[in-house]
Symmetry: C2
Subunit: 170 residues, 2 copies
Amino acid sequence: MDEQALWAQPQDQAPAPREDDMRHVMELLFFAYRDFTGEADAILADYGMGRAHHRAIYFIGVNEGISVSELLAILKITKQSLNRVLSTLIDEGYVVQETDDGDRRRRLMQLTPKGRELEHLLAERQTARLSRAFHDAGLDAVEGFQRVLLGMIDKEARHRVSTGPAPGYS
Amino acid sequence: MDEQALWAQPQDQAPAPREDDMRHVMELLFFAYRDFTGEADAILADYGMGRAHHRAIYFIGVNEGISVSELLAILKITKQSLNRVLSTLIDEGYVVQETDDGDRRRRLMQLTPKGRELEHLLAERQTARLSRAFHDAGLDAVEGFQRVLLGMIDKEARHRVSTGPAPGYS
DNA sequence: GCATATAAGTCAACAACACTGACTTATTTT
DNA sequence: AAAATAAGTCAGTGTTGTTGACTTATATGC
């Protein structure tokens, strides 16, 4: 981690992030995130769904058997907002709920094959975009990319990120 | 740029990005972007504004004298959506319009001192979050972060990013 | 100069997605 | 038996996006 040392070194022309650099990064973030989500949004529109449906599908897919309140905690939205989305996903057969045997108040959720199919379709496009960006930027850049993203997340929320930072890359 | 060579090298256990790694990155993106915007959103709520107002203020601030249609091209939203936001910004004295002398159809926009003040307040918080993340991740990570973000942006839209990738860092 | 194109603004209607607050129904815990 | 929790529901609201049509002013091409 000698990058930290470099950063902290109070030397001549120290690389303290200047205001304009920060603005530049904010723009990159805005455009990158918009284009990243835009592709999936376009597909979802064909299904009469939106980004909220995607998020629900995604997090149910990564956390098989997740309960409603756990999903609420991840998404940080209200019960009402989630319910609207969840109802249509269940009605149209993308998600199934099953009463938890241990605690019969809880409804554990899973993707149906149909749901998994849609999740894959969406992930495919976004993965393609990421792969391209990773390839162009280089392996080192990808590691840095993930480190910065993690640092941007509220400390209390970092544990919510599923797997660790790709230990299998080497 | 030998990272590219590394990435492309078809060696044993080639670091081709696996599906789970990609999902991990998508989660990082989701949480990072949400927390990044959340801070500004909270401030904006006190002013009775939303993220759309912030974006308008931001891009008018970075592009002094921008015209309405140029702003529309950057934001990629409809005239109607922008106008709602723009009207309140003008009515409440955050933005001023001035007829272009060269082409009197165009309205060139600027932030008022009040607008610049709000822009700074918002940028301050987000800059603080980024600085923290940059510090924790290290200088090299920051460079990679920016390279990946740029690669994620639609090719046709990359020229819209204001300044180049921080040439003054060294 | 007149037709056409462009820049900006406006109206009406609509949809997605978030919010609040209150309230019900099961079920579990104390 | 009382209190807490998990889930679901209802009614109302606000922001931000959409479409399509239309007006006004100005510029440009022929």
